[in-house]
Subunit: 237 residues, 2 copies
């Protein structure tokens, strides 16, 4: 939504309630058989994976560029999205599953949980949900993820000491992907991201958040959460 | 090297002998502190990760495009490189480490192995080498990787039934990345990739291999391997 708003593209948004497993309902699986959100549909083309969607949106539509022009800054942008998607994001997810998502189901009846799990289309996702709900993380896995978040905060900080945006001199897809992961860290992981240890990160989050398009996307998100009866988590990942 | 040859860019190649751990020697670590090959250096810019290098090469130099023009085919190209880099490649690597790389050191003295391991700059790589050399893979991990290779072969086959190249109608970075992983499969995993079960894959490998630029890159690679005293493995990953 941030990329679409930044480009000024009109779109229709369908909210998918993840904790209610709406991503595993037949209507959604017809669009995205892997049962993961979000999904972008444009002129019959279906694109999944947020980062790929952002590159597609930048290439398919007019509007302000979301990728720097110099090839070396583009490479830096993609090095960031690769790192965020493959290392930082999974660590953040593991902790989010363990601390927040899993516990939401700990008081649900076993049979009901099994019924929800049975609907998940891929074995890998089924295993992830099962691990989180029944708290079956391998010993040390959550601690290791926390260490990786710390390393990520250090990498973000040192990049932002060199330039105002992750890819260099201009706002890019790296900032969108980065914000969506790190935006909630000062609140959820205040010991890792705060004014003292990561001042550049804090300024950068504020810089992203104050862009009119980002503000508009976040407001849409809050509206959808409210309509679905979920508590809106300001800047949550 | 394939991307550079396809673009017609002149370059100087430095062969890094991985089984001799040359990627962990100080001279190489000064260029790439993570100690992974390959690394691209252009005008003082250092780019790591093969797929990112390919996108950089296509953006930084003149020559025939290595990415399709239509945004939806570009998205398909990136969906392929993402899948190859994040799922297919790691499964292939795990088996390659377990079957080929690890056993190369099983007769080496323990102290000498420990000395080699101590030079590895990242904890994650050190753990990977240790697991392979001492055959400490978790139960079932190699079998699961084999299943993933089978799934990958099926996905490649069904994509190549729809179009001659992975991204659609034109040769692209997806074919380069795909060839570098799947090129050795008919020889190393003949039960998975062969004329009967994956005829489209076999034709595609031949189509990639017969391109003059790919031929030239493979010849350079064979020359470097011979000069280093390593047996050249035709089309090996």
């Amino acid at each position: 939504m941030m990329a679409l708003k930044e480009k000024g593209v009109e779109f229709v948004s369908h909210y998918v309630n993840l904790p209610r497993f709406e991503q595993h309902e037949p209507a959604y699986l017809r669009v995205n058989p892997r049962g993961q959100a979000p999904t972008l549909v444009h002129d019959g083309v279906v694109i999944t994976e947020s980062t790929l969607m952002c590159e597609y949106i930048d290439e398919a539509f007019e509007g302000p560029p979301l990728r720097p022009a110099p090839p070396h800054e583009r490479a830096r942008m993609r090095a960031w999205t690769k790192y965020l998607d493959e290392e930082f994001g999974p660590s953040l997810s593991m902790i989010a599953w363990g601390r927040f998502l899993g516990p939401m189901y700990r008081n649900t009846e076993r049979a009901q949980v099994e019924a929800l799990l049975a609907r998940i289309p891929t074995e890998e996702r089924r295993r992830t949900w099962r691990t989180a709900i029944f708290d079956e993380f391998p010993a040390g896995a959550l601690d290791e993820s926390l260490l990786r978040l710390q390393e990520g905060a250090r990498l973000l900080e040192s990049s932002l000491e060199r330039s105002p945006w992750l890819a260099g001199g201009s706002f890019s897809i790296a900032d969108i992907v980065g914000y969506n992961m790190a935006g909630g860290m000062p609140r959820l992981f205040g010991q890792i991201m705060n004014d003292e240890s990561t001042p550049r990160c804090m300024e950068w989050l504020e810089r992203v958040r104050s862009r009119p398009a980002i503000r508009a996307a976040l407001a849409m998100d809050r509206g959808a959460l409210r309509a679905a009866g979920r508590p809106p988590l300001e800047g949550s990942p």
